[in-house]
């Protein structure tokens, strides 16, 4: 019945019932994720400044590193969008290329973030240092863990794409994982703004 309902123009991922259900379900999941990150942000704001005499953020944050991380993630969100664009043109090659770039950017983001964390810990600011740093590490760390999960997940989907080609099922998975990836960029925008930018300016 699916085939009858939809014009051939309909993107593959929407062509099956499962596809439509899962995409809507994933949006709702993203709603839950917003609530989750809001709670972390609220925690961060409340604990902001409670450094208990330990290191304070302004002296550790650096514009350069943060900007690199931001542009890596922004760009990866863009390339991820291009990947979907190619998927919708049924170009498996374009899809692989752009997803590959996305993953590479994501990995370098993670690399920079880990480097940043190690640096902070080296400077005496760790999860256990003070309430402020607990909040910092858990907020950014939760985002980082999401990015890591995203990379692993997309990698698994790539394997499935290789095995099965573009089908309503695989394209649904790609599309949903792209939603996830963009969403992580959305979260990062707020981390960039509220944690780093305001942390350095205030």
């Amino acid at each position: 019945m699916d085939a009858v309902e939809h014009s051939p123009n309909t993107p593959l991922e929407y062509q099956s019932e499962t596809g439509r259900l899962n995409i809507l379900g994933f949006w709702i999941f993203l709603g839950a994720e917003i609530a989750l990150f809001s709670t972390l942000f609220a925690t961060y704001f409340v604990l902001d400044g409670r450094t208990a005499g330990g290191p304070v953020p302004a002296e550790l944050f650096e514009v350069k590193g943060v900007l690199i991380e931001t542009f890596l993630l922004l760009t990866s969100s863009f390339t991820c969008g291009l990947a979907i664009h190619y998927m919708r043109r049924h170009s498996l090659k374009g899809l692989f290329l752009w997803i590959g770039i996305t993953l590479a950017l994501g990995l370098s983001f993670l690399g920079f973030e880990i480097y940043e964390f190690v640096h902070y810990i080296h400077e005496g600011a760790a999860l256990t240092t003070s309430a402020y740093w607990s909040a910092f590490f858990v907020l950014t760390g939760t985002h980082g863990a999401h990015v890591a999960m995203g990379i692993a997940w997309i990698a698994l989907i790539l394997i499935q794409l290789k095995q099965r080609g573009l089908t309503p099922d695989t394209s649904r998975k790609v599309f949903i994982s792209s939603l996830y990836w963009h969403f992580l960029d959305v979260v990062w925008i707020f981390i960039f703004t509220a944690v780093y930018l305001l942390g350095m300016v205030m």
């Binding site: 939809h6 014009s7 123009n9 309909t10 993107p11 929407y14 439509r20 995409i23 809507l24 949006w27 709702i28 993203l30 709603g31 839950a32 917003i34 609530a35 990150f37 809001s38 709670t39 942000f41 609220a42 925690t43 704001f45 409340v46 514009v63 900007l67 931001t70 542009f71 922004l74 760009t75 969100s77 863009f78 991820c80 969008g81 291009l82 664009h85 919708r88 043109r89 792209s178 939603l179 963009h182 969403f183 960029d185 959305v186 925008i189 707020f190 960039f192 703004t193 509220a194 930018l197 305001l198 350095m200 300016v201 205030m202």
Partner: protein
């Protein structure tokens, strides 16, 4: 159902524009923070506003929130989530900032 993908077969304009906008907005936020000389409160307001705009760009231009037959549910979910986010963040800050005044 809304099939927005005329872009299927040609250049992905919306993605490129979205990308350019997000870079510009990021740099602009940076400028507001460091160079604009606004008061702290204004900086917070402007910068958070810019972040919200950027988020909207991602949601609409990259994530195709408004495409598909379920776009109203999807948009509704995100708007409700925004309500929750504001209630949680603003509410918590408001409620937890007590006691300070007593000291």
């Amino acid at each position: 159902m809304a099939n927005n993908e005329q872009t299927h077969s040609h250049f992905p304009w919306s993605h490129v524009i979205g990308f350019a906008l997000s870079i510009i907005l990021t740099l602009f936020a940076l400028w507001v923070g460091f160079e604009s000389g606004l008061s702290n409160t204004m900086i917070v307001v402007v910068v958070v506003g810019l972040a919200l705009i950027q988020a909207t760009i991602q949601l609409v231009m990259f994530m195709h929130m408004t495409e598909s037959e379920d776009s109203k549910y999807q948009t509704g979910t995100i708007l409700y989530a925004l309500f929750i986010a504001i209630a949680v963040v603003v509410g918590t800050i408001w409620v937890m900032s007590f006691g300070m005044s007593h000291m």
